[in-house]
């Protein structure tokens, strides 16, 4: 059984994500140290918390994560997890993992913020992670910031809420989702299943 390790920033709910990953066939553990991450076939950065404390928690495992990614181990970032793949965030100080060039900015305008609820994915590039997902499929969002990658070729899906923003990025074995697949019903489950397929092949 492929082993997925969820990195724990120390706040909130990881159970929903753990159950969803188990449902698609992973053995799942929660990790806090480089040693915990060493045995992983897949790494997951979850989506609960805020940038500055999470970036601080990541400092001690930064190298371990970067090494795993170089080895080719798939890395999935969800919401805040995705935002940590960028260099910096308007949410606060701290350095991200910089797998993607660019920064994370705030949603602005005459809108209810956080962007909370179900919105659609506009598929802009074919990607295995979205196999079997139709353009216009609904997924669950809850966020106040979004990523702005410098390299447009990493953008997989876009979503519109006032502005049209990047809602998924992929570069080789690094996958980032601004929405929560573990809270997105069957569509989310399909995306996690695709991730499992990528990990287990």
């Amino acid at each position: 059984m492929a082993k997925a390790v969820i990195f724990d920033y120390g706040v909130g709910n990881l159970l929903g994500l753990k159950c969803a990953l188990e449902q698609v066939g992973f053995g799942v553990s929660i990790g806090v140290s480089g040693q915990d991450l060493a045995q992983a076939d897949a790494l997951v950065l979850p989506g609960v918390g805020s940038f500055t404390p999470a970036a601080k928690k990541l400092e001690c495992v930064k190298e371990a994560i970067q090494n795993k990614v170089v080895e080719g181990v798939p890395l999935l970032g969800i919401c805040l997890g995705l935002q940590l793949f960028f260099e910096e965030s308007a949410e606060g100080f701290g350095e991200g993992l910089a797998f993607f060039k660019g920064k994370v900015v705030r949603l602005q305008g005459d809108l209810k913020i956080p962007h909370m609820g179900w919105n659609t994915l506009n598929l802009v590039k074919s990607c295995e992670l979205f196999d079997g997902i139709d353009g216009g499929a609904y997924v669950y969002f809850v966020h106040s910031l979004y990523p702005v990658p410098i390299d447009g070729s990493v953008v997989c899906t876009k979503t519109t809420y006032g502005t049209t923003f990047t809602s998924a990025v992929v570069d080789k074995n690094v996958y980032g989702l601004q929405f929560h697949p573990e809270k997105s019903g069957n569509v989310g489950l399909q995306i996690l299943q695709n991730f499992a397929k990528i990990v287990m092949r």
Binding site: N13, V48, K112, P114, M116, W118, H180
Partner: protein, 267 residues
Amino acid sequence: MPLTKRIIPCLDVDHGKVVKGVNFLQLKRAGDPVELAKRYSDEGADELVFLDITASHEKRDILRHYVEGVAKTINIPFTVGGGIRNVTDARNVLCSGADKISVNTAAVEKPEIITELADVFGQQCIVVAIDAKRNLSPTEGKVTVQTDEGSVWFEVTTYGGRKSTGIDAVAWALQAEKLGAGEFLVTSMDKDGTESGFDIELTRAISEHVHVPVIASGGAGVPQHFVDVLTTGKADAALAASVFHYNKYPVPVVKDYLCKAGVAIRQ
């Protein structure tokens, strides 16, 4: 395609059993929160709310047990409320698998709890529930609204509507938003349980003043009520219990109706 409006079934749970609005003919099926949660999730509910009304010292263990049960069963977001008074209570519920926590009386009595919770768990995690009642006696300094009953303001109540506070619900919402509320769950104590429609004026008054999402609650009886509160009432989401428990208007029927009425809905 825009952000859709959310339809949220609510489970009022006492000692691990759904108690409110249950059709006694279906007690066996409707009584178990985990089973009901699964049914609603499968039927296309956009989110779930659990309000724990257990008033006893074994509360914490019961709560943990069923929150975990639900978290393992569904894959849509869910909020847990009822007696959360501090960061420890909130952490227990969130670590058991809830995505958001809802605070009500504790926040009215000690508003700074909202900031404490938002600082630890993030603003998106904190739902402030407001139980409001129409007050017809004119009072200076309150946000008044013209209704078919004349000029009213909305008064915050606590302890499940038993205690009137004299606080203006709109002013309270604005204060709570500043303190870190990520969402409001606004229940009309006048409409709750009547199935005569949501309090449109109450919902709109709060929704127009705050910049975070508003869930309307109390009074849902027929699908048109959902249309009214999500359009005229400017709610971002609508919550109901008995219409769904009774199976009178299952979630897909309500969503279908909303869709035909032109409301953006996930189907």
